[in-house]
């Protein structure tokens, strides 16, 4: 279809980059004839932010004078797009249909001879409101593009945020080590712990290693027993780690497995079968 509107396009804001990509190929320019590949239609629709955006594109593409829009060809071409959209995407077409109605109304009003003595309102060019809206939209569209390139926190720069030692996260309750200690002692006082629950300083390192071993076994896979021990920790460290493993076995938190005598020993979480 060769609409008079299909003049060679010129460089405009609407075309500053590929409109869309179809199967990885940049679609540099929207199809100018009637045919829109069905797969491309949705992509094309997504490339436009609405009827004003589509109209602006049609106007700018054909290098039309926005102040003197030829209504008939513009309306025709617009309707071609809308019809294609309507066939494929009814939901999206609503805003577009409203605009189609407006275009048709303007077109028909322009065909009417202008009454010599008109009421103030009728003296206006029927296109004036459309032009105003197009220009205002284009202005905001360009403003949006400019806002987008302003250096922005989190994208182009970061804000400095040093931790305050005493107040770790803002508005988060503070806990001091002393409070923790007091809490612990308070519990013990209250419930009169049996020996089972007393904790000595050296025992704590066993407890810490118990957590570390469990973290190592996270995921539920078998781990070779020997690999649990970090020799860099020294003899004392290895012993503590060994005690931690024994404690974990005793408390039924881990399982040990050995197929034959002297075969490697494997360790995994007691609940590993659940994970598997």
């Amino acid at each position: 279809m060769n609409l008079p509107l299909d003049l060679p396009p010129h460089e405009t804001v609407a075309e500053r980059e590929a409109v869309a990509r179809i199967y990885g190929e940049p679609l540099l320019e929207l199809p100018r004839d009637l045919y829109i590949p069905p797969d491309a239609l949705e992509v094309i629709l997504e490339a436009f932010e609405g009827p004003l955006d589509l109209l602006l594109y049609l106007i700018r593409k054909s290098n039309l004078d926005i102040l003197d829009i030829p209504m008939a060809p513009l309306t025709n071409q617009y309707l071609v797009y809308v019809e294609a959209m309507r066939r494929n995407n009814l939901e999206l077409a609503a805003d577009y249909l409203l605009m189609a109605a407006m275009l048709l109304e303007i077109k028909s009003r322009m065909l009417l001879p202008r009454p010599p003595k008109a009421v103030e309102d009728d003296g206006l060019d029927p296109r004036a409101e459309l032009v105003r809206r197009l220009l205002e939209y284009e202005q905001m569209k360009m403003a949006a593009a400019r806002l987008d390139v302003l250096p922005r926190a989190g994208r182009d720069f970061e804000w400095v945020g040093v931790v305050v030692t005493e107040r770790i996260v803002e508005r988060q309750p503070e806990v001091s080590l002393h409070e923790l200690q007091v809490a612990w002692l308070r519990i013990m006082k209250r419930v009169r712990l049996t020996r089972h629950h007393t904790v000595r300083r050296d025992e704590l390192s066993v407890r810490e290693h118990m957590s570390m071993v469990l973290r190592r076994l996270e995921g539920g896979a078998f781990v070779v027993f020997d690999s649990l021990f970090d020799l860099k920790l020294g003899a004392a460290g290895v012993v503590v780690c060994f005690l931690a493993v024994l404690e974990l076995v005793k408390e039924r938190m881990i399982n040990l497995a050995q197929t034959d005598a002297f075969a490697p020993i494997y360790v995994r979480l007691a609940d590993a079968s659940e994970h598997a």
């Binding site: 008109a118 809206r133 989190g154 804000w159 945020g161």
Partner: protein
């Protein structure tokens, strides 16, 4: 520690700005000290700090709601390498809505829809609200009492602006529109300036 000398005070101000989760105004910085050192000294020390930091990866900047340390843009390429996720890219719908709110504020959702020519989805507003860039500043006294949106101080801060007047200038379209009006005036019985103004106010409503 006793902040006796201006140099001590500068260290305190520096520490406060380094830990602050939001920009600090001069009035807030004065509260760091007892007795109040006065705004003149604080301003002078801020200037000195800005110079002290001028050859670092971090700079002291003045924003809408006060002073803040932030990294220089040239360092972003390095810092991005530590990030798990990129900061979000906003869709055109979000950006255009933001632009309309920024330049035309306060506006209702209806106003935005009128400019854009399409319905504004609630998720677009929510995106901008949850980023802390816009909020509701009132309601228009029309049926339904629609919410009026405006940009926040945080929007200015995050865009590195001190005031809304520092927003990028709008394009010459405004001049084109003036041209439209002039042509209309000469060609037809166009409305007077007052009428045009009334109309625009009405449209806003």
């Amino acid at each position: 520690m006793q902040a006796n000398t201006p140099e001590d005070c500068k260290r305190v101000i520096e520490a406060a700005l380094l830990v602050a989760s939001a920009p600090l105004a001069v009035s807030q910085l004065r509260r760091l000290f007892e007795p109040d050192p006065g705004s003149e000294l604080v301003r002078r020390l801020l200037d000195e700090l800005r110079t002290d930091w001028s050859d670092r990866g971090v700079e002291l900047v003045q924003l809408a709601s006060g002073w803040r340390f932030q990294t220089r843009a040239e360092y972003q390429v390095y810092l991005d390498r530590l990030k798990d996720e990129r900061s979000p890219r906003y869709s055109r719908a979000v950006l255009e809505t933001l632009a309309i709110i920024a330049y035309r504020q306060p506006v209702t959702r209806g106003d935005i829809e009128e400019v854009r020519g399409v319905a504004v989805s609630p998720s677009v507003i929510k995106t901008l609200e949850s980023r802390g860039w816009i909020d509701v500043v009132g309601h228009r006294d029309t049926p339904g009492r629609p919410a009026l949106f405006a940009t926040t101080k945080r929007f200015l801060d995050e865009m590195g602006l001190r005031t809304l007047t520092e927003l990028p200038a709008l394009t010459d379209i405004e001049r084109i529109m003036e041209l439209v009006d002039t042509q209309e005036i000469t060609q037809s019985a166009a409305p007077t300036d007052e009428e045009a103004h009334d109309e625009s106010v009405e449209r806003g409503g």
